[in-house]
């Protein structure tokens, strides 16, 4: 049986009802990874204990114990989340050999639900990038066309899903890092409300923006994954003490009375024709299901990228100060030296351990936070951030959900934008707002470009209203014409 065509939910049900063993499922996906990963480079590390962990799930099923809602489901986890005893690199030379002594809360919850961590997926170094090209472990290739990027930074997770190397994946999103690769690879990806999912054990990039979230091949699978990983965590004081609904059992694509807002700032000439066409199709599909479409305005959203870059790099320069070469991670070679100047010790270690994009962002953040510039940059950006968030809160008085493109274009070719940081930065123009405002946002597959590359649309809702995103995503999934196109690696 072609297990990679079975949905995550169906796989879990099959393992729970003993129709297939977790070990068989895990073996199947390990074999597929072995065959296809050399081309795609979606995984940095495959879990050598995956089969024995699957055997434990099977033992539970055999004993008649509840193996959990994700029983036997292999999950591809972005290599930014710590896994106890399993190398966690952040795709950086700095952490090339780092084996964490503990697991992230997200990982523990997945395992507690019976999931198998099949491996750790590739990403832009420290999640800094939108194309997966800044990884110290080489770029990931897009399964729809290996000459194209999979998007980033969660490019490995998106590519693994699209190529059927795993039925479910976890990404992280600081400025669009789940949604943009989901769009480029034709999968579903959700950035939860800030505080919905624990950041404990997730290697920090920008703490006030970072959220881990589900990536999957259907709305239902996405909802099921979020049900497992969401919720208050005592190791992350910023997680919210709010209920985690059972979204997956309540999916309904009926949209009568629902107001969908189209922010006019997101429908500009910068949006490529293919993206525009796919977005309009999605709008028509929602109308068919009874939704009312309203034009809205979020004037400050056009400044979101600027605000995002100042805040994200400032937080990054502070967060990445921990990499000092002493307790873990890379250390420059000082063997044979009878004495070392402490500043030289840090500077060489960090200069050699970090890649270009990371150093660039640390430089920008350090500058923005340095004496004399703090008010003009970081403080100013944080003030505009409040104004932007307030504009979002206001717009949600006029509509229930917002619909926009995810990015101005479908996936672009490898190496085509790497030398142009401004063009690269503008990839994030529609996605950074949700992180700044802390609202949930989702990318749903909605069609294809003329070149056969997938294109998604973005949905946004007010804080903790992920239910709306799933409702609209489900309606799109039911209504849009299914194009029976699959990546060539299938």
């Amino acid at each position: 049986m072609d297990l990679h065509n079975v949905s995550m939910s169906d796989l879990a049900n099959a393992v729970r009802s003993n129709k297939v063993s977790a070990a068989e499922v895990t073996k199947y996906f390990l074999d597929r990874i072995a065959a296809l990963n050399p081309v795609l480079n979606a995984f940095i590390t495959v879990n050598p204990h995956a089969l024995s962990e699957a055997a434990e799930v099977d033992a539970k099923v055999a004993r008649g114990d509840d193996p959990g809602p994700l029983a036997g489901v292999p999950v591809a986890v972005k290599d930014l989340l710590c896994t106890d005893g399993l190398r966690t690199t952040a795709a950086s030379k700095m952490l090339e050999n780092f084996v964490p002594p503990y697991s992230a809360t997200v990982v523990r919850r997945l395992q507690g639900a019976g999931a198998i961590i099949i491996g750790k997926t590739n990403l832009d170094e420290f999640a800094m990038g939108s194309s997966n090209e800044t990884s110290a472990f080489g770029p990931v290739r897009n399964p729809w066309n290996p000459e194209y990027v999979p998007g980033g930074s969660s490019g490995g997770s998106a590519a693994a899903l699209a190529a059927g190397l795993a039925p479910a994946a976890i990404g992280t999103d600081t400025g669009g890092s789940i949604r943009q690769p989901a769009s480029f690879c034709g999968v579903y990806g959700l950035k939860p409300t800030y505080g919905r999912v624990s950041r404990y054990g997730m290697i920090a990039y920008a703490s006030s923006l970072d959220q881990a979230g589900p990536m999957a091949r259907s709305t239902e699978d996405c909802a099921r994954l979020l049900e497992v990983i969401a919720g208050h965590c005592r190791f992350d004081s910023t997680t919210a003490k709010v209920d985690v609904p059972k979204w997956s059992s309540d999916l309904n694509g009926e949209l009568k009375g629902l107001k969908v807002g189209l922010p006019k700032e997101c429908f500009t000439s910068e949006v490529e024709e293919d993206v525009e066409r796919v977005t309009q199709n999605a709008i028509e599909a929602l109308k068919k299901r009874g939704a009312e479409i309203v034009e809205v305005s979020i004037p400050l959203s056009k400044h979101a990228v600027s605000v995002y870059y100042l805040i994200a790099t400032s937080e990054a320069s502070s967060n990445l100060a921990r990499y000092d070469g002493i307790r873990y991670g890379y250390r420059a070679d000082f063997r044979g030296r009878t004495s070392v100047d402490l500043e030289e010790f840090y500077s060489r270690t960090r200069g050699e351990g970090f890649g270009h994009e990371v150093k660039r962002r640390i430089m920008l953040g350090t500058y923005a936070l340095s004496a004399g510039y703090y008010d003009a940059y970081y403080r100013k950006a944080s003030q505009v951030r409040r104004l932007l968030r307030d504009q979002f809160l206001k717009v949600f008085e006029q509509c229930d959900v917002l619909l926009t493109p995810v990015a101005t274009s479908p996936a672009f070719k490898l190496n085509s934008r790497l030398m142009d940081p401004i063009a690269m930065v503008m990839n994030d123009v529609f996605t950074t707002s949700a992180n700044l405002a802390g609202i949930p946002a989702m990318s749903c597959p909605a069609g294809f470009s003329r070149d056969g590359l997938p294109i998604g649309v973005q949905l946004m809702a007010k804080h903790f209203d992920e239910a709306r995103l799933f409702q609209v995503s489900f309606a799109l999934e039911e209504t849009l014409e299914r194009e029976e196109r699959v990546p060539h690696v299938f």
Partner: protein
Amino acid sequence: MLDKETAVKVARLARLKLDDSELENYSKVLSAVLEHFNQISEIPTDGVEPLVTPTEMPVSVREDVVEKSVDSSRIVEAAPEMTGRLFKVPPVV
């Protein structure tokens, strides 16, 4: 805007040893990014409280109780150099 001299200063603050080509490249790229950022300097923000965490929920606190967590030997194992249960560093001046 961010000239090479400033870049040298910032690199020192960030404890990053950079070569000449890196310094040149970063000062160019960062100048472009900062120029882009100048668009927001005109947005009026007098009296606006900076937003540092987007949901502004009450921070949840818990009792500070001593409990067993990761064994210290496992933490030291991750170090580039160790001796027994200690981190080892070169002689520093």
